[in-house]
């Protein structure tokens, strides 16, 4: 078989999937807001990855001679009270936000998925205990609870991530539980049990994979919220420690200079606003595109 034949054979076998992707792409192109969201998120991720190699100044080093400079060609976004270049700080801060998003998604998605599947599959007392625990977490406003955790653990990047994850997993647990309860009653689970499969095997191979997709969709929908929470904690001084250029902390730094040196707080604030908007637009767009009722 030649290479071209192999490729065409490969394409032929996967045609339904490719058709599906084509349809998804078509729907995406028709949703303007989703396109805007996608572009913002892609730019954000690119800036986070390659930005740090192109920034004109060290984001951490202080330069008292250049302090409180307004935006100019030398300093695009001006400088703060320690003479640090705000443009460089905003760009290198995007990497911190990406880190927070990824790690929070893995931790809270993982905890939620595991606990949700266990609660849904076993039911009864285990379900009651786990679900009442999630109810307790959900009873608090999420930001207040995150603040409490962050204050308890002490401000640092890792503790911010832990605090946000501890608050966020409940939603995923509920989703995974609902899905696990649905899958558990399917006849094929009974058939597999009749073949003598153990509980661990059924849960790990036959139930959990079915519960991943709603959790993944919800994770992408909530990424904007994660950034907002991280920035809020930073602003309140409960998040990432200075001098690390976390956006929320930067907004907080410039607060006392806001009347005369507006640029210190404004540029990181704009960055937060745009990125959160981008994630929310993408999330809403994805939800519409993935909706099976709208797909046909």
């Amino acid at each position: 078989m030649t290479l071209t034949e192999k490729i065409s054979d490969f394409m032929e076998k996967r045609r339904p999937i490719l058709e599906d992707w084509k349809h998804t792409f078509f729907l995406w192109r028709r949703t303007k807001l989703a396109i805007i969201g996608t572009v913002i998120v892609i730019v954000f991720v690119l800036v986070a990855i390659i930005g740090p190699f192109f920034i004109p100044y060290d984001p951490l080093s202080q330069n008292m001679a250049e302090r409180l400079q307004p935006p100019s060609l030398k300093h695009f976004f001006g400088t703060d009270q320690f003479g640090r270049d705000i443009f460089s700080r905003v760009v290198s801060g995007s990497m911190i936000e990406v880190e927070i998003i990824i790690i929070v998604s893995i931790i809270s998605g993982g905890i939620g998925l595991i606990l949700g599947v266990i609660a849904g599959y076993f039911g009864g007392a285990i379900d009651e205990i786990l679900m009442r625990a999630t109810d307790m977490f959900l009873a608090f406003p999420s930001l207040i609870l995150a603040m409490a955790f962050a204050a308890m653990l002490g401000p640092s990047l890792i503790n911010t991530i832990i605090a946000i994850s501890l608050v966020g997993w409940t939603v995923f647990a509920r989703l995974a539980r609902a899905e696990a309860m649905k899958v558990k009653n399917q006849p094929y689970i009974e058939a597999i049990r009749a073949l003598g499969a153990s509980r661990t095997r059924i849960i790990s191979i036959h139930v959990t994979p079915m519960c991943v997709s709603p959790v993944l969709v919800q994770l992408t929908l909530r990424m904007g919220t994660v950034i907002l929470t991280a920035a809020s904690l930073g602003f309140l001084g409960l998040g990432v420690r200075p001098p690390l250029p976390e956006w929320g902390a930067m907004v907080s730094d410039g607060r006392s200079f806001l009347l005369d040196q507006w640029w210190i707080s404004t540029f990181p604030g704009i960055a937060i606003a745009i990125v959160v908007l981008g994630f929310n637009l993408l999330g809403d767009g994805l939800r519409d595109i993935m909706d099976p009722r709208l797909r046909r």
């Binding site: 399917q186 049990r193 073949l195 036959h206």
Partner: protein, 323 residues
Amino acid sequence: MKDAILTVKNLKVVFHTYRGTVHALDRINFTVLKNERFGIIGETGCGKSVTSLAIMRLIEQPGEIVEGEIVFDGKDLVKTQESILNTIRGREISMIFQEPLSSLNPVMKVGFQIGESIAKIKNTSIKSCRQEVFEALKAVDLDPTRVSNLYPHELSGGMAQRIMIAMALSSNPKLLIADEPTSALDVTIQAQIMNLLDDLVSKMNNTVILITHDLGVAAQFCDKIMIMYAGTVVEQAKTEELFDNPLHPYTKGLLKAIPKVGNRDKLTGIPGSVPDLVNPPSGCRFHPRCPYAMKICSVEKPPLTEMNPGHLVACHLYGDKNG
């Protein structure tokens, strides 16, 4: 006399629902002999499937086995631990379900799923079972290379049921429970599947419990038939004996309700419908629908008594003979 492989004694299963307790099985007794083909026949909701699930110990909350014994190969399955049950299920007792298409995991390839069951029995990895998977598929007349790469939604009902049979028989189980294996299939496929099952079981000498509501299928396949009604056993006999000389009024009614080709007379059914098992009728559970009901029928539950050799019936009409 041949050895018994499965003895069910006084088995009582209930389901706790918000309406009250459903008495799904009311102290049923039966014995399946080695290499026998045992048919269980009854209407929807009479407890056929519950019986099979109870034997597999797959009754889940809110259901419960409240009393009785299920002795399989010398072990009482009711008292066996879950971890030991997992070594019996699939290895010594296998089961074929009524809806083959929904009994396969929809997102996994067929070959992987058969491999999973074989790998479990042989305690090896799924990949190393490729040869056995192919043989199992060949045994049920499917093209192994093509079918093992298909997903369940690409199969027809008949193919899926063949695959279920392949999975169930891959371990050469001592006992195979087939729970209405053909009721989701159309008639021509039914015949094919029953013939296939017949061939394979005769080759491998398995004991089979066939659960069905189709008297024709049971007549062709089974050596012995047990008739169930509303969670009780009403009659049990050798197949010929049962069809030639039915004793219980319910069995008689069932046999009259079979349409015959060329017969233009009106079919006679059994009046009334299956009783609500939350409040089952007192005494004999069939008495409200029975044309021969007597006073005693609503008071006392008739015991299962042997009328002719091997022919058991639970009915007060024949009560005097034995005492």
